[in-house]
């Protein structure tokens, strides 16, 4: 393949997000406005919204979740940027990451100089069975779903294959969950700002108050190993292996590189981007890895001219704990079959040599599916600017990566950002 080069480079000059969680009093419009207002806090030289020339919106299915299709022009009008062109990008849970990449390509093409990227999903109005059915439409609805599969089921089948291939124990998954909850506990925007230990202790307290036998869990590992604490969803994936159902929005402001200093003294540069697709789960060459993620990552590294070792931190798509372990291998941080060991050894913790999901990840921060890919970029912005508060990683990180997956791996998009000052 001949080496291709973007016509011009793209900078990120600010990000914003709503709190992620379950908000019965908020629509996707409210959440999007909240994220947009937050953006203004981070574009340090300020900006006139009238400079925005287009909106690229990642949204999986407002039509199913809110009975509202054609969402992008409504949101543009809600933040006062009509009549700019708007488009909704739908690539399941990768919608946000793909929207960002498409917005960047539109800037690189020369068509626009300033583009707003949004991601939003409002999922919690529906009953959980309806949410499962809505998410199921991101799989093959003719052949996978009628067999009785669900998304936890797909990732569970990948986990079964991974465990068998690499002799990995189920406990490796618990370490991912414990770590991401620890990080989420330090993130004011996270849906779950509780460690697994705190959740465990509160369950004990509740049992005591209600006069029921108090479970004798000694630590998080005992709690997670007990189906009473951590019920089976789709073996080997249990409740605490799964990201939650969430409401939330996130935005990112992208501009042509030569305009970046007009918005901020400290832009981030989008130095690498890649995207790939694949068939449904039965059409994959392996279940112990996500091939589209490897391809997207390789493209992004090649464009950036860097290697996996150069990444200081990554926000990866941990919709299920197995997904984070596979991502850590697909992105080249660890060899195939070694990711589960790295998770158990704490290498992916905030103080490890390869911090992953310092935000709490989708597991603890929440997974409003269309917003998740943009929400990842918010964390990279904060970490690379040294403003992530208590969860800030040490050593002045310079390069951050986002990895966003749609479906069970039918879409994957990887973006790499660099701070240069």
């Amino acid at each position: 393949m001949t080496e291709k080069k973007w016509s011009r480079n793209v900078a990120l000059v600010g990000t914003g997000m709503s709190k992620f969680g379950a908000f019965s009093d908020k629509t996707s419009r409210d959440l999007f406005v909240e994220a947009f207002c937050d953006l203004k806090n981070y574009v340090d030289k300020g900006f006139d919204p009238k400079r925005i020339e287009a909106l690229y919106l990642g949204n999986f299915s407002s039509d199913q979740f809110e009975k509202q299709a054609h969402l992008a022009p409504i949101l543009a009008s809600w933040i006062g940027i009509s009549p700019v062109p708007t488009m909704r990008i739908e690539d399941a849970c990768a919608s946000g990451g793909v929207a960002l990449r498409q917005a960047a390509l539109a800037i690189a093409s020369g068509e626009y100089d300033v583009v707003l990227v949004g991601g939003v999903e409002k999922m919690t109005d529906l009953h959980i069975a309806q949410v499962t059915e809505a998410l199921g439409t991101a799989a093959d609805s003719q052949f996978e779903i009628p067999a009785g599969f669900t998304f936890p089921g797909f990732y569970a089948a990948m986990a079964t294959a991974y465990m068998a291939k690499y002799d990995a124990p189920k406990e490796a998954f618990y370490h991912v969950s414990i770590k991401n909850h620890k990080n989420g506990a330090l993130n004011d925007n996270a849906q779950y700002q509780l460690t697994i230990r705190q959740i465990m202790e509160s369950k004990k307290e509740r049992a005591a108050i209600k006069g029921r036998p108090v479970p004798e869990w000694e630590d998080e590992m005992e709690f997670l190993s007990d189906p009473k604490g951590n019920p089976n969803i789709a073996w080997p994936m249990a409740l605490f292996d799964c990201s939650p159902v969430s409401d939330g929005a996130a935005v990112a402001l992208l501009v042509a590189e030569d305009l970046a200093q007009e918005f901020t003294d400290k832009p981030l540069y989008l130095i690498g981007s890649g995207q790939a697709s694949d068939g449904a789960l039965p059409d994959r060459e392996t279940l112990a890895s996500i091939p589209a993620a490897k391809l997207a990552g390789a493209q992004a590294y090649r464009m950036a001219g860097i290697n996996p070792e150069d990444i200081d931190l990554a926000e990866v798509h941990d919709c299920f704990t197995i997904a984070e372990i596979m991502a850590s291998e697909d992105l080249g941080f660890f060899p195939h079959g070694e990711g589960w060991k790295a998770a158990m050894q704490g290498k992916t913790a905030r103080n490890g040599d390869r911090p992953i999901n310092t935000s709490g990840g989708l597991k603890a921060k929440g997974h409003p599916v269309g917003a998740s890919g943009v929400g990842q970029v918010v964390e990279i912005w904060k970490q690379l600017h040294g403003i992530a508060g208590e969860r800030q990683i040490e050593g002045e990180p310079r390069i951050g990566l986002t990895h966003n997956v749609g479906g069970s791996g039918q879409t994957c998009v990887v973006n790499i950002f660099e701070r240069r000052d």
Binding site: A129, P146, A159, N232, I233, A234
Partner: protein, 133 residues
């Protein structure tokens, strides 16, 4: 669930009919008229034997709508002898523990019932442990 959606798929669902590529001999399921291996046109029908082995699986504790009465159940990816992988529920397991590589064979069973909607009973393939020859 809409009636034509099921009716269109009856050959595949009842008899595991896919396609064979006239150019490279690849067996194709689900049928799509284009060979995923060589990219050539492939419209020749091919009935799979229904024999295969468990490629991976999960035990569903949390069943989606239409499957509640079957829970907990095991769904699997089955690697057919002819090559393709299909998603299907395992049935007639008794106390048998499921393992990757376990030989299985196709049977036709009720997949789900949409009692609340149009009363459609959806039949199709499931797989059971292979009977000794």
């Amino acid at each position: 669930m809409e009636v034509p959606r099921h009716w269109r798929l009856k050959k595949q669902r009842y008899a595991l009919v896919g396609e064979v590529c006239p150019h490279c001999e690849a067996k194709i399921f689900p049928p799509r008229d284009v060979c995923p291996e060589c990219g050539g046109e492939a419209k020749t029908a091919y009935a799979f034997s229904g024999k295969g082995e468990v490629y991976s699986f999960t035990r569903m504790g949390n069943a989606p709508a239409g499957f509640e009465e079957q829970a907990p159940y095991t769904v699997a990816l089955i690697k057919l002898q002819e090559g393709p992988i299909v998603t299907a529920q395992l049935t007639d397991l008794g106390n048998q523990e499921v393992q990757i590589g376990m030989p299985v064979e196709m049977v036709t069973r009720k997949l789900r019932s949409d009692d609340g909607e149009k009363g459609i009973l959806v039949y199709g393939y499931k797989f059971r442990p292979a009977m000794a020859a």
